[in-house]
Each structure stands twice: as C-alpha cells, then as structure tokens.
C-alpha cells in the first residue's frame, strides 16, 4: 500500500486502484472461469461419447437389416421376413391421439390455473399434486390405464386406451411447462389488452397464448417424445406383439415400436437382436422427425412475435 502518493492525472490506472478497498483478483477469477469451462466441456464430451458409442453399436447391428421391406412388412416368426409396419402405424396413431388429448387437456388446465383461477389454497394444493404426479413411474400409469380405460370405460385393449393412458402420463409435464411458459408473458401485454375493453378470455386467446406458444411447444415436444418411447405402461394396457393388419378404428388392438423392439430384443436368436436394433433406428428417426417439425413450428412462431 502506498498511502502517501496522491492521485494525479498522471497516475496509472493500476496505481490509482491500489489503495481502494476493492481487491479485484482478476487473474484468479479468470483462472476459475477457465477451469469451469474445461469441466463443462469434458462433461459434454463424455455425454456425447457415450451417446455416440450407443448409436454406433446400434447402427452396426441394425443398419444391415434396415431396408424398405423391413419398414413395410408385418411381423413374422422368421427374422428375415419380419418388419415393423404395424408397429410403426400403431405408434403413429397412438402418438397423434395422445398428443391431441394431452395438449388440449394440459393447455386448458394450465390456462385455467395460471390465468383464470384465483390464487388460493385449493389451487396451491392442486399445483403441488400435479408436481407430484409428474414423478410417478410410468408403470403405475399403465395399471391406471388398465383399470380405468380398458376395463371401466370399456375401451378394451385398444389404441384409444393406450393413447388415453399415455396422455394422462404426460399431462403433468405438459401442464407444468405450459404454466411456466404462460408466466414468461409480460403482464404489460395482458394489461394493454384488458385496458382496451377485452375480456379475460379474449386477452388470453389473442395475446397471451400466442406469446406463450413457443415456450409451451418445448415442453410438449419433450413430453410427446417420452410417450413415443414408452413401452412399459402399454404392455400393461395390453399391447400385443403380433399384429398382421392395420387398425380400422381407434378401438382396434395395437402394437407400437417400443413394444415390438422390446419383444424382439428379448428373444435368444441373434437375428432378432439385430432387427431390434434396426427397429431402434426407426424409432430414433421418428422421434427426430417429430422434434424437427415442432422445432420448425417454434422457430416460425418466435419470428412472428418478439418483444
């Protein structure tokens, strides 16, 4: 410390700050930042490496079996002739139905809880419950689906029962993420609309919902991808593995890609293991495809409204 030296216009910056109570420690802080960067870089690399290994392994096994016949054939007792056509169509039907049910119910619930209802005890309780529901294992939803949709509502072991089960399963996640998205919409937009003589509903429908849509889509995409890859609850609800026809209605029996893959992977013959891998590749492609579409929609929406 050089307390004697007065600060003049000629004093260097370093000298001028020597005496202040600020010890900026810039070198230490920059060093820490570098270490932190290194750690997260390593973590990312590790994750990518594991993912890459998995993909490589599956590709090596499955790619040779992956051809147009595999996609357009029904399952068979012989691996060489087996295909995933009914599973692919089943997955597609179920996921579309699931998406419609879950999005309509979930977004409505989120709007009610976030925009319309009073913030009272009962709603806080509901909120807590929804958060808890998101943590329940998917098998439990399968049992619920079996009891309620298959038996009680008499949907049978059908596409409808499967879609309802999956929809209920992803509902909590959709509600929570939609509420989060609604909360990010600036209150000033709501006030602007209300001050023009809009009803609460007009305000929500015309301004809040479009503004929250990109954020909501993120949660919806993640939830639907999860439903697409889920096998356990659907096995409980009654997915079968040998279906040699296409569904005529939502009350027909069903199979899906994950169920088919699960079945093949459990067989001892090596060929079946291989076509299971090929099935996984198709499933990955499907997930990538749905995510891609959703991301495109989100990007377009984000372009349209910005503040």
């Amino acid at each position: 410390m050089n307390t004697e030296k007065p600060i003049t216009p000629e004093t260097s910056v370093r000298e001028a700050i020597l005496d202040t109570p600020f010890k900026d420690n810039l070198d230490r802080r920059n060093f820490n930042a570098k270490i932190f960067n290194l750690v997260i870089l390593l973590a990312t690399c590790l994750a990518m490496l594991i993912l890459g290994l998995l993909l490589w392994r599956i590709g090596e096994q499955g790619l040779p079996w992956l051809n147009w016949n595999f996609i357009t054939s029904f399952p068979s007792r012989m691996a060489a002739r087996a295909g995933i056509f009914s599973a692919l169509i089943g997955s597609a039907c179920i996921i579309i139905l699931t998406g419609i049910i879950a999005v309509v119910l979930g977004v409505s619930a989120a709007i009610y809880l976030e925009e319309m209802s009073a913030k009272n005890r009962i709603n806080q309780l509901i909120e807590l419950n929804i958060a808890n529901l998101a943590g329940i294992p998917s098998l439990v939803y399968g049992m619920l689906g079996l009891a309620v949709f298959v038996r009680f509502l008499n949907f049978g072991r059908s596409i409808m029962a499967a879609a309802c089960t999956l929809a209920i399963m992803i509902l909590p996640v959709i509600i929570i993420s939609s509420r989060e998205a609604l909360r990010t919409v600036p209150p000033s937009i709501r006030l602007a609309a209300l001050a023009l003589g809009a009803t609460k509903w007009q305000t929500t429908w015309h301004h809040v919902l479009p503004a929250a849509m990109p954020g909501m889509l993120t949660g919806i995409i993640l939830a639907i991808s999860r439903a697409l890859g889920e096998a356990a609850p659907l096995i409980l609800v009654g997915g079968v593995t040998y279906i040699a026809f296409l569904p005529n209605s939502v009350y027909d029996s069903f199979t899906t890609l994950p169920i088919q893959i699960f079945n093949w992977a459990g067989r001892p013959q090596e060929e079946f293991q291989a076509i299971a891998a090929a099935g996984i590749i198709v499933l990955l492609g499907l997930v990538l495809f749905t995510n891609g579409i959703a991301i495109l929609i989100r990007a377009r929406l984000e372009d349209k409204n910005r503040w």
Partner: protein, 248 residues
C-alpha cells in the same frame, strides 16, 4: 361531470392508500394529478377504469367512482364496458408484439367495430402524430419503433377505440425531451375531444398541458383547482412546498 371520485378510500390488504378523496373532472379538459412518489396517484387513476381489479390485494373500502351516470364499482356494471369507454396509456410503452396495423385494429375489432379499418388506422395514427413516420411500414412490428414512437402508438391504439376518457400514468417518463414535447402537443390537441387525466412528476409538464391540477399527499387530496391558481397562488403550504421542489 364526466368522471368523479366520491369520498373514495382505497386499500391494498389492510393498508389504506387513498383516503377520502373526492375529485370531479369535467368534459373536454386535461386534469393533472401530481404528488410525491407513493402518494397513491396510480392507485387512484387505475380505479377509474377498474384496472385495479387485477391487483389481488386491492380493495375499495369506501366511497364510489362515478362515470357519468354509472356507478363504476356497482355489481351490475360490466368492467369491460367501462374500460372500453375509459381508455388508458401506461407508464411504459406496451405495444402488442404484432404489426402496427394490428395494434390499432385489435381493440376495435374485438369490440365489434363496423367501420372501415384502414381509415381508422390512418385517422388514429394521424391524431397521435405518428402517421408520417409509420405509413410505409404498417405491417412491421410495433416493437420495432423507438420508445417515443411506441408510446404514440399506444396513444393511437387508445384513441382508435373512440373513448370518452383517457387516463395517462406518467406517459412521458420513459421518453426523451423531443418525444415528450410531441406527446405534450398531442395532449393539447386531444383535449378538444376527450377528457384526459394525466399523472406526472414533471411540474412544467403539468403547467403546460393541464387546465386543472390536483395535488395528492400521503393518500389525501390536498388541493384541486385551476392549474394557474395551483401554480401561482396555492392555498396550502404543502402544495406550494411541493411545487417549489422543497420536498418529494
């Protein structure tokens, strides 16, 4: 009388914020609401068109708000109708994140406007002194305008509803002197058609734009008179001290 507070007491939770305020505003005048920060100006202003309904802890403790012959807070009056007739311009410009054109037309369209929308957009923007600056980009976003332009867009949006009363809460506090001057000119023109209530912290602004001034202090209305009188010969010592900048 167009709009009036009668013996009004307002509270957030248990805390009375506005106390026994009575204030009458006549047609086609500009009334400035002044007073130190936190004295309840915004709270009072927001009760005139029931925008306080959206503040959960807000309570009307006593008294009433009259808009012409309507008791604004009586159960059979639809707040949506009040807001449609009593417009509001906020402190921070808040255009919708959509086109300039839609910013103007949305309010009228949801309220069943049957006239020509193109004409409405042009006349509203002209009256808000914004037309020349935006006439070539009506379809670009309202957010792509400068702060001052955005605030004039918000004023245009409010007058497109052809309101009876316009409430303005510090409409110039986020703006530069040039934009402020433009909006003050605009208020001067708008007074020929509308009844305007404006909250401001700027004494010169109050003196320039208003015919009447009301001075509030700690939730009470201390003095309400013709602006000239408030500024030249205030009756209360408090008013004088505030106007002279001795506190607040």
């Amino acid at each position: 009388m167009v709009i009036a507070a009668q013996d009004l007491t307002l509270a957030y939770g248990d805390k009375n914020i506005v106390k026994k305020v009575s204030l009458e505003v006549g047609p086609r005048t500009v009334t400035a609401l002044i007073g130190p920060s936190g004295c309840g100006k915004s709270t009072l202003l927001r009760t005139f068109n029931r925008m306080n309904d959206f503040v959960p802890s807000f309570r009307l403790v006593d008294g009433k708000i009259m808009y012409r012959d309507l008791n604004v807070y009586s159960g059979d009056v639809d707040p949506v109708f009040i807001r449609r007739r009593v417009g509001m311009v906020f402190q921070k410009p808040n255009p919708f994140p959509s086109s300039i054109y839609k910013n103007i037309t949305w309010g009228p369209s949801i309220n069943g406007y049957t006239g020509d929308f193109d004409q409405l957009v042009e006349s509203s923007l002209r009256r808000a002194a914004l037309w020349d600056e935006v006439k070539d980009k009506l379809n670009s976003s309202g957010l792509a305008l400068s702060g001052g332009q955005q605030q004039r867009l918000c004023i245009a949006r409010a007058i497109a509803m052809d309101p009876d009363v316009i409430l303005m809460d510090e409409p110039c506090s986020a703006l530069d002197p040039a934009s402020t001057a433009r909006i003050e000119d605009l208020i001067g023109e708008l007074r020929e058609r509308y009844t305007i209530l404006i909250v401001t912290h700027n004494m010169q602004q109050a003196a320039r734009v208003s015919e009447h001034t009301a001075f509030m202090f700690q939730g009470e209305l201390i003095e309400h008179a013709v602006t000239k009188q408030i500024f030249n010969a205030p009756k209360h010592k408090l008013t004088e001290d505030y106007i002279m900048g001795r506190f607040g």
